[in-house]
Symmetry: D2
Subunit: 357 residues, 4 copies
């Protein structure tokens, strides 16, 4: 329930208004050197307040490792870590104590549990993703040794969209702008749209595309553990995600003769001429680039009056106060990468267990 993975497993805990958020990474192979600066830099990428287009709430978010690391290397023991919460101004949330915010977790949590930490959305808080980013950074360090590289970027904000083919962009430029879009011109348009939306107290969604290079053939399990099913499950577990597609995805107009990826001998390596499969065939990686796209709805918290119902069933009006996050996409880019890294490492370790003699 709060654990993800089969071999490389992340168990996460924490709400925005408890003492800390954190997690336990189990199944990490021993002897991996943990580059703490890299891990912290990944955390910094997801932090709010990085730019003029994200929520200005400042969070220091310094990770403290509690176990499983000795002389900077993993020992094979579970890696416990926490990030303390700050600025827990519970009074900020008094106006939502009684009313259900539309499209938030308030109503469903109340229905499911009969009790609700109304202060910050409980487990639906965006701070829950901190544990994912830490575990994802550890996974990335391992994948680096296998030359597996993961890059995500914002591919659409509202109606401003990149072309679908990721190969026409220089992905190394993704981090050059606030919105994490590799095309500088489109990025500028996206930023302009987000600012506009922000001034209106509104929010906007979009899509993130993720590209994985260097995956060896053979990762993933044929039936329920298909690699794309695991990636899809990982992505759909991120707050605000509404859809997942890989390879040709929802583009279903073309025929089999157009979509099938022909194999050819590319100087001794079996390659495909096209990659509509998105690097995964029959649930198993085929050695080509893996790519997929993730849809995010607009953030639910808006600075406008909304109709809703309170705890007693009365119709009422609610309006969030203070500042808000007009577009979650820039901060979600490192989270998408993190979940992809965890999923791929887990698939890799599992494939080792049941490999040929």
């Amino acid at each position: 329930m709060n654990t993800f993975g089969t071999i490389f497993r992340l168990t996460s805990f924490g709400e925005s208004h408890g003492a800390a958020v954190g997690g336990v990474i189990d199944g990490c192979p021993p002897g991996l050197e943990l580059d703490m600066d890299f891990i912290q830099s990944e955390l910094d990428r997801r932090r709010p307040g990085q730019s003029r287009i994200t929520t200005p709430r400042k969070e220091a978010d310094k990770v403290e490792f509690l176990s499983g690391v000795f002389e900077n290397k993993t020992t094979g023991a579970p890696i416990g870590f926490i990030v303390r919460n700050e600025n827990q101004q519970s009074s900020d949330y008094d106006n939502i104590k009684e009313a259900f915010r539309p499209s938030h977790a308030d109503f469903t949590y109340q229905q499911k549990y009969g009790i609700r930490d109304y202060r910050g959305g409980g487990r639906s808080s965006a701070r829950e993703t901190i544990a994912r980013v830490v575990a994802g950074a550890v996974a990335k360090l391992y994948l680096r040794r296998l030359n597996i590289d993961i890059t995500a970027y914002t591919s659409q904000v509202g109606d401003i969209a990149l072309e679908n083919d990721y190969r026409i962009y220089d992905l190394s430029r993704t981090e050059d702008n606030f919105v994490r879009c590799p095309d500088p011109d489109i990025a500028e348009q996206m930023i302009k749209l987000i600012q506009e939306v922000r001034y209106q107290g509104d929010t906007i969604g979009g899509t993130i595309t993720c590209v994985v290079k260097g995956t060896p053939a053979g990762l993933g399990e044929p039936v329920f553990g298909k690699l794309h099913a695991m990636l899809g499950s990982a992505m759909l577990s991120i707050n605000a995600v509404k859809g997942f597609e890989y390879g040709s995805g929802f583009s279903v107009v073309a025929r089999g003769s157009e979509v099938n990826d022909s194999f050819y001998n590319d100087n001794g390596r079996v390659n495909t001429r096209t990659n509509n499969s998105g690097g995964i065939q029959a649930g198993i990686s085929n050695g080509q680039d893996i790519y997929f796209r993730v849809a995010f709805k607009p953030v639910s918290t808006i600075l406008r009056e909304q109709q809703t119902v309170d705890m007693h069933g009365n119709d009422t009006i609610i309006k969030a106060r203070g500042r808000h996050d007009p577009c979650v996409l820039p901060r979600a880019v490192p989270i998408v990468e993190a979940m992809a890294a965890i999923t791929l490492l887990d698939a890799y370790l599992l494939s080792k267990a049941t490999a040929l003699f």
Copy 2:
């Protein structure tokens, strides 16, 4: 790996050219009356050869229950079942023994396992879905007692598509035509397209929409076990599926103020005025209709020459013989329903375990 679910668990086995396919259903509550006619009728819905637009391969597909049922009721013991394979004409597959069919499982299985049952795609055979349909039928019988109803239908074939809003269709008419589309006129167009594609020895993909009515609020787990993540994982585990979206999905142009679902008091029940959430908020059902859409690529087997590589790395030409399935969608409709039923029942049973005192 070949097991799906946490409480209500399906373990499936079998290839098209072994003796049988089958499965084990564990965690089914005791005392459930098994309507064997219904279960067989669900199996019949997925069987090939039902109409002029599907593969004519005849399969009797009679399910035999081996355990877990006493005097027609479940006992709480695991329910083992098998469906015998027939017509295992292995000679049909001699021409693909050596070459990798494009976009099939041949190459990735060979890479992963170093051994491959070349006769029928091994675990990637469509016959693997038989176990899903049987378990799904059992789950549907349970869900019926909870008044949860699941209906899927073909919503797009190639470029012929229904409108997105399922409420404008009479879903009870879905089974009236071969393509399982609730709009008779569109259905006719779809069938015409599929026939056209078939004559060309080609294949075509599309989308299936699934609607779940009657789900109580509170199903699903907040973080990694979000109800839509489980549904997405279930759907993406079906052969040929390339994408999953629920609620507003990939329609990301609208703003938060347009997408949020306002609550109101509907004669004592908390309802939402819109349902862009697709019945799931923060990963937990909210009592509204759940709906989602699944993208299927065209079937890989086409009756045309295709370039590929053989086991020794040589470029070669391959051409499938005999008959083929031009569009998997009509047969996939009951499979989508089955996986939805399994997922919802599993979420329901899990929610019982950790419910309020």
Copy 3:
């Protein structure tokens, strides 16, 4: 619940009076040659009616593999198998339909499930162990390639017991007698006792000792997955088992200075001078012989009148008819070996997943 293992996983199903018992082995590495004669011979070892001291009920018990095997080798796909039940003379059980047999599953199953297949004990039937023996035989074939060898033997029947140190016996003689005891003289005494008990319509328990040679150091997980905890769980899951001890076990009189196993350099290999640890230290194999002992209670079915209660709560007298099994130990020897093999292979495959780079 009906699945055992993490990587190499057995899911079992079936009751004595259904159509068949069987199982699904998932996670078996590909390319393993299945020696079908060996597998059948293991099944024959657990079969009733082998000798004058076991139940004379004849069961052919021919295993049929349904999937996961191609040209006699495992393919990496799940291995489904069944063994048909014969002689399902349900009328034999009419007298126990209404009354709870003492120390049987009747009462607890009725309490738990509210429904009960009274014909043969449902899942508590000894036939459930067939799936274990088949999976254990497959595991043994794999372990053979690692030079891991497992031998169990009857070490006590009633008050007739072998010395605790297994090294003083020639374990290759275990199969020379009906009771599977490596000491021919003690074996004769045991057989005599069992016959005596049988004539009295009574039953007798005892212990089985199991020795595993050739395990490499490093198998097992430190905390909840300790190798001996997994072995203990495996053994305690066998019908009629009441206790498990490994190494020095319940012999707790000696002091630390006497029990600690000193290391020494044995021509380049780190060895221990004693093996009170039973080959497992801190939950992880240390390369020495693993040995453990399992206690079995007397079989509950006796040919004597017993006081009990019927389904309606009335005190009543029950008496089993026909023949009975006076001592389960001889037939349990291959079951103990099978569960040990499954557990060790699972631990081995798991250790591969999280091994050093």
Copy 4:
């Protein structure tokens, strides 16, 4: 691996010389009032330095809850908690950095992981049990509402043993003495023996008996999830445990006619006249008292010279310095109770999931 349980799940982390030990409790039902004083008092029971017969190492061991609790009640979210380590005087361990302590985790960890936190035994440290005691205390608070009561006590130290029948003792007197033995006279003898052993720099083992009253019939799963198999796995996962038996256990001399527990109608309740089953029949609780016995070997750390091998394979002599724990039993009593509580609550919640309609 570091997670225990199916529904109520404890994931533990931490070594003695990292910053903290801790855990995450997942699957705890919402609305449970956490009595923090009780939880801390349970932790205090396992703490060293409580008496003249245990290790004098002082550990404050104050638990900090980080999540999952709101206004002192569980919310259904995962409960993260930590206990900071103190007095991490790593210099104490310099003499064991190079040599493998006999019967410790040093050698097997080095073999398994190729890296080892030599400072305090890594995950084999007794501090790992802190997480168990915290989770066990939470489980006890839930079980209290079900009127399930768990009491463990020291039943043997070296050759000083209580009678096997727990019913002849007043278990409420268990906490009256340092050794946690309900018989004051035997307790005094045990304490004397432990002191004697301590003066010799040696250690002594023994057994703990655990009694569970008030368990309803129906907990446990028939095959691999038998209630006693889960209890056995839980106990065998505790450091230094070498054996587990329940009910009649290793007493295998009696015959079936003597051991079977007759049912009778006890004023409307189905009761058994004897309880050789130990409250569990066919793996499922029958409503009688559950009782079992756990064997602990002597602690491996002794203040005497021992022969061993160093990291380079050279024979050497090692001698632990400072103080040691002559007998782990008194401190293990609350750990046995904690693991029993976790196991029973998990079985209870699982039985709710698959209960009758």
